[in-house]
Symmetry: C2
DNA sequence: GTGAAAGCGCTAACAG
DNA sequence: CTGTTAGCGCTTTCAC
């Protein structure tokens, strides 16, 4: 097989430089080289290049499950930024198992990834140490953990919950229940906090968990300035349709049931929708329902779901930018935190 | 930095062989090496290995858009099989653009992928040639194109449509409309064919496009053996919710409207659901609705959608197995075709 | 059962 | 502006 040098009459060095532009090449040589490349269908071997430069032009993405629609959007956001910069990604699914997670990280190191994007919730900080020790920049997506050597990008869960609650308050709802996931899992705490803040700002007091003691008037729906806001009504259940249904049922069974339900994600909100309709309640007439995330199905149920969009692709892009900054040595601080705002998506359900 | 040889007092050769097991290593040496590896946190450099062996242990996956929920399932299916065999995947999104598609293929070659999985519909066979010429085994997912050097795995669109149609016939529906996508795009032709076959088998004749001339009785709903089946009623529109709504509307506006609508995918079926409910029709009482794919939202709309599941993950697994066969030299034929059955998912809408 | 040496395809350092 | 040389970390002869 012809070596490219032979056809173009140049050394491999020159080929390298015409391709990478690290040093000037005479226009004529350049053309000869390019022509030969074209003719021979030559493609540089990325592995060899990586071995030599110790940069694989690859970044690793570690997630629980690409099948969960949040993560493809994340991956796409990363690709939006990293792709044009010449990086490919390899994806490791952990299914939430710590063993698989550690295996994935080892694999990423062995693959010589130039950077790592990590988007798994329940992780011990120490599991990331091998990666950090290997000198690989890490960006964590969606966690809140602050750790030396790790940049964090996450959505503004607290602010989003606050905005959602305020939105409901503005529309006149006064007894707003919160159907939350298990404490400690995912962004539960932040969202409850935001919800509470909004209620407190509106004069609703702090509110006890679950069947918070009645604190106000009965149910001013178009309630103007005068109507008193109910204290927080938080119910904890699972992050599933069934969980949402159960949580909603518990709240609606209260002697003074809420006139609006804010759910920790859309799937739960759809469960809440189920029970509301089952009971013959009109949505949003009798009870408003809101979710979080804006999954595909949110716009497909009846009534379509008002929700706070979780900007996965945005988060991916922002994380990728941070990573690029690191890779190109543009960042000094040992770690950073970045918050991406959620966006209110108004539809019929609230 | 300590070289591993030094701590364990062995040559790199021996380390290599203890790790890869290509030749016997004395038990005692073995242990010493493993201990040293553990102690030093040594991880073999996959790039170097790849350069030497010219096998990157990587497979490329080329798809239109990871954000479309069909493809993550595919990717996961691939990973189910390829992961344990030691392969990682890199994903290229083409957004359906031929330019990006070709760039992705070039990129895969440059990355020295050991195999390629290709899941883009509208592709000219010639675009795959560079890959085939590079000696890289290719598995095509979801296409129907038969091409030398390319194995094909796809779902049984024709059989699925036949089964869906038969299911509706069994339940007593007699005037079944088909809301189809644009001719030539995706699996449209096969699904129409399956639908026609089932109708013909049931005595419904061949059926003209769109407003097929009336051919039978008026609307036996629980119609037993006697009721005559209507000839095919096919409407072509877009693969979208809006498209489905328009197609359904056209069919329902017919002088003798169908009593069941089979839609080419779930998103379209949800559009059909929209218009049916809008018109005060009961589903499935007045009109049954079925989709294809079983997307997440299918079980979240009201009534929940009966559909033919498109077994993306299964297809991924089957494709991966084929690819492994090729990689390990277990297949002789120049190309093969494999069909994965669809599965009926019964819910309320039909 | 083990080691020494060569070389995969590339780029960086050092000539010229 | 271009070429020669060396070496990235591994696996594979070939030798013992």
């Amino acid at each position: 097989m012809y070596k490219r040098q032979e056809l173009a009459q140049v050394s491999a060095t020159t080929v390298s430089h015409t391709l990478n532009g690290r040093r000037p090449v005479a226009e004529q040589t350049r053309r000869r080289v390019l022509a030969a490349i074209e003719e021979l269908g030559y493609r540089p071997n990325v592995l060899a290049r990586g071995l030599r430069t110790s940069r694989s032009q690859t970044i690793g993405l570690v997630i629980p499950d690409i099948t969960n629609p949040f993560y493809p959007a994340l991956a796409r956001g990363l690709q939006d930024v990293l792709g044009p910069a010449g990086y490919d990604q390899i994806i490791g699914n952990t299914d939430g198992e710590r063993r698989l997670e550690r295996a994935a990280l080892e694999q990423m190191i062995a693959r010589q990834v130039d950077g790592l994007v990590f988007a798994v919730f329940n992780t011990h900080a120490e599991d990331l140490l091998p990666v950090i020790d290997a000198g690989i920049p890490v960006v964590r997506l969606g966690g809140r953990l602050v750790q030396r050597g790790v940049d964090v990008v996450h959505s503004d869960d607290e602010g989003g919950a606050r905005e959602a609650t305020r939105y409901l308050l503005e529309r006149g709802y006064r007894r707003i229940g919160f159907v939350c996931g298990p404490a400690g899992e995912g962004p539960a705490a932040e969202r409850v906090a935001g919800y509470r803040t909004a209620l407190a700002d509106a004069g609703g007091g702090e509110g006890a968990p679950v069947a918070g003691h009645a604190g106000g008037c009965d149910g001013a729906v178009v309630g103007g300035a005068g109507a008193e806001v109910r204290p927080g009504l938080v119910v904890r259940t699972h992050f599933s349709r069934q969980g949402g249904a159960e949580g909603a049922a518990r709240l609606l069974d209260l002697p003074e049931p809420p006139d609006a339900l804010l759910c920790a994600n859309d799937v739960m909100a759809i469960g809440a929708l189920d029970v509301a309709l089952e009971r013959g309640l009109r949505v949003p007439g009798d009870v408003a329902i809101m979710g979080f995330d804006d999954i595909e199905a949110a716009s497909m149920v009846t009534p379509r779901l008002t929700t706070m969009a979780n900007p996965a692709r945005e988060i991916g892009r922002a994380g990728a930018r941070r990573l690029l900054d690191r890779l190109e040595g543009r960042v000094a601080e040992p770690s950073s935190e970045m918050v991406i705002p959620s966006r209110l998506v108004r539809r019929e359900s609230a």
